[in-house]
């Protein structure tokens, strides 16, 4: 296996507020490979979005990366640790949009309401390649067309509120792709869309990935999307990676109790009617109120008192490209 395009090692990002400190990401490690899709899965509040923001160093104050490394392998083979770069410095800004593109969840509010789509694409293109305005506009029209927007030469002068939801999301993807990034981070790209449009967007992303051998980091809470798109999966809970592995392994042979419970709670066409759907008992603890030891233990069916609430489980490799954080496997 070749070197990973992006390698996250023990990332820790915390939010420092008057009322307390939240460890939004508390030791996450995973790798992203060129041409492959990594799915990051977890409930709301588990730290998936903050992880994506940390990679691009756009975590909002009062949040800060407090530890770990994010190693990006550039096109020329050199490596750079994104954590060590100056925030908002020239290097990281070149990487944002240039090497790594970001697609957000809400296409409506991710575009400026008072600038045209064209303004924003052209600006991104000129920022990373210094071409003339005319050429940038030409490229913009091309990339809008390549994401399946009909009549791109007209759409480029429209405002985001003039486009439908599906077209807006395509336009967002176009902006992210406009400077040919090698990694596309998609944060809940289909959550705000209806199912049909969702399928179209996912098809689009797969097509682009094939054409450009681009890596995709897909963040979602929708297990169905992960099953469809991802090659590798990372399961997060309360800021930690609880399980990692290939998508088939995770879905057919989950190891961590949380992963098992998640998969169990998916309603299936084969469910017996009249039987209650299994749910995960309890609720996500408040970030200021982290349970001691393993964060999942208050809700875990396999809880071992004395062990699970006393110490943090370490990351245990269990086979080829798989790891899990649970005392059951130590």
């Amino acid at each position: 296996m070749d070197k990973p395009l992006l390698s996250v090692r023990n990332l820790r990002t915390s939010f420092f507020q008057d009322e307390g400190t939240t460890k939004a990401v508390d030791g996450a490690s995973f790798d992203v490979y060129a041409g492959k899709t990594l799915g990051i899965v977890g409930e709301s509040g588990c730290g998936k979005s903050v992880t994506a923001q940390s990679i691009l160093r756009i975590v909002d104050a009062p949040g800060r990366i407090v530890g770990g490394e994010i190693v990006l392998t550039r096109a020329d083979g050199s490596q750079v640790d994104l954590v060590k770069l100056a925030p908002n410095g020239r290097e990281i800004r070149a990487i944002r949009g240039g090497d790594i593109g970001l697609v957000f969840q809400e296409p409506m509010t991710s575009f400026s309401p008072v600038h045209t789509v064209g303004d924003q694409i052209v600006e991104a293109i000129r920022l990373h390649s210094g071409v003339s305005a005319k050429e940038a506009r030409q490229r913009g029209i091309e990339v809008l067309g390549s994401v399946g927007i009909p009549k791109p030469e007209r759409r480029i002068d429209e405002y985001s509120f003039e486009l439908s939801g599906g077209l807006r999301q395509r336009a967002m993807i176009a902006v992210a792709l406009s400077s040919n990034p090698r990694l596309l981070i998609a944060d809940e790209p289909t959550t705000a869309l209806d199912v049909t449009t969702q399928a179209q967007i996912l098809d689009l992303m797969r097509k682009i990935q094939r054409e450009r051998a681009m890596a995709i980091m897909l963040i979602t809470h929708n297990l169905g999307v992960v099953a469809e798109m991802a090659d590798d999966v990372v399961v997060m809970y309360l800021g930690r990676v609880v399980e990692r592995g290939k998508v088939d392994d995770i879905f057919h042979d989950p190891k961590h109790p949380y992963t098992k419970a998640l998969l169990q709670s998916i309603p299936s066409i084969e469910s017996v009617p009249g039987v209650r759907l299994p749910t995960i008992s309890g609720s996500i603890p408040h970030p200021f109120n982290r349970p001691r030891g393993c964060a999942f233990h208050p809700r875990c069916a396999s809880f071992v008192p004395g062990r699970c609430d006393a110490a943090d489980p370490a990351v245990t490799p269990i086979g080829h490209a798989r790891s899990v954080s649970c005392f059951l496997y130590e």
């Binding site: 008057d18 009322e19 307390g20 209650r276 299994p278 749910t279 008992s281 309890g282 609720s283 996500i284 408040h286 200021f288 109120n289």
Partner: protein
Amino acid sequence: MSGDPVAVQETASADGATLSGGLAKGAGSLAEQRIAVATQWQLMWWRFRKHKLAAAGTIVLALFYLVAAFADFFAYADPQDSDAQRSLIAPQTIHWFDEGRFAPYVYALKGTRDPMTFKRVYKPDPSTKIPITFFARGEPYKLFGIIPADRHVLGVEGADTGKSLFLMGTDTQGRDLWSRLMFATRTSMTIGLVSVALSLVLGVVLGGISGYFGGTIDSVIQRIIEILRSIPTIPLWMGLAAAVPSDWSVVQVYFAITIIISLIGWTELARVVRGRFISLKHEDFVMAAELVGCSKSRIIFRHMVPSFISHIIAATTLAIPAIIISETSLSFLGLGLRPPAISWGVLLQDAQNIQALVISPWLLIPSFAVIVAVLAFNFMGDGIRDAADPYL
């Protein structure tokens, strides 16, 4: 599986985190329980308390209203007692210690004729000390208009208070400024309340009708509000105030000015009320109430109004400073309250002449009262508004 009330617990914890600053961190569930059962007003009060400026403003305002209620007590001289010979005396310095003991006193004033201007000039006479007493007996008055009393906060021993004590100096007619300031505080602070009450009624009624019923009546009321808002207020007030007949009594003028000011001020409150009604009209809980069969008035008063009453309180508090400033401006111009009425604006009329002001700068003291009162109202109103809805 248990089916816990997940949502309630989660929101409780979210608030618990922000509000439990005073409670022990990590005493998670106890604080959360308190938050979960706290009423809307308790939550507001906790948030308001944290806002230090608002708390300071509230205390200051409480002091002001204390003075307003007990003006007779806080004043030590008759505010209307004029004596041309005492005109424009500078504020006296209080000497706090008499040979080491705490015994405040002032020097008596000796009047001499200035040989250059032939005007009577008062200078402190170091040979005569007049001791100051607290809670002294003085001019009789009626507390709240009914209870006879004669104690004042300050007084002097062995001399006539009215002729010896001038803590803030005197005005052009020789009247003690401190005593006048006390009474002015009463007038200026209460005009604000009466006026805002009127604006509130107008604003809530018209804004409510406009927001709740919508349609043409909404458009009509909206246009009226827009028109009123785009008319420059001061010429309008000046015109209306000039129309008040000069032979009306002090009380009549007081109420006339109050009504005039509130006639323009209601537009802001109406806007707030209308906005709230419009956004609430489409809330699910209103639809639920309708489906259950509640009458319109019940829906409005028991369902909708409680959700925005805190915003109304905030808007009302923030409207008062503008009213105080308008009354002060009008009276300053001579168009508002007129002597013998006493308000901050009337007191400041004496400060119109710059040359006189330079010689007697203490005439500007009432302006501090205005500024402090307005600041206090603004701080308190801001605190209430932040407490009512921190996301607004």
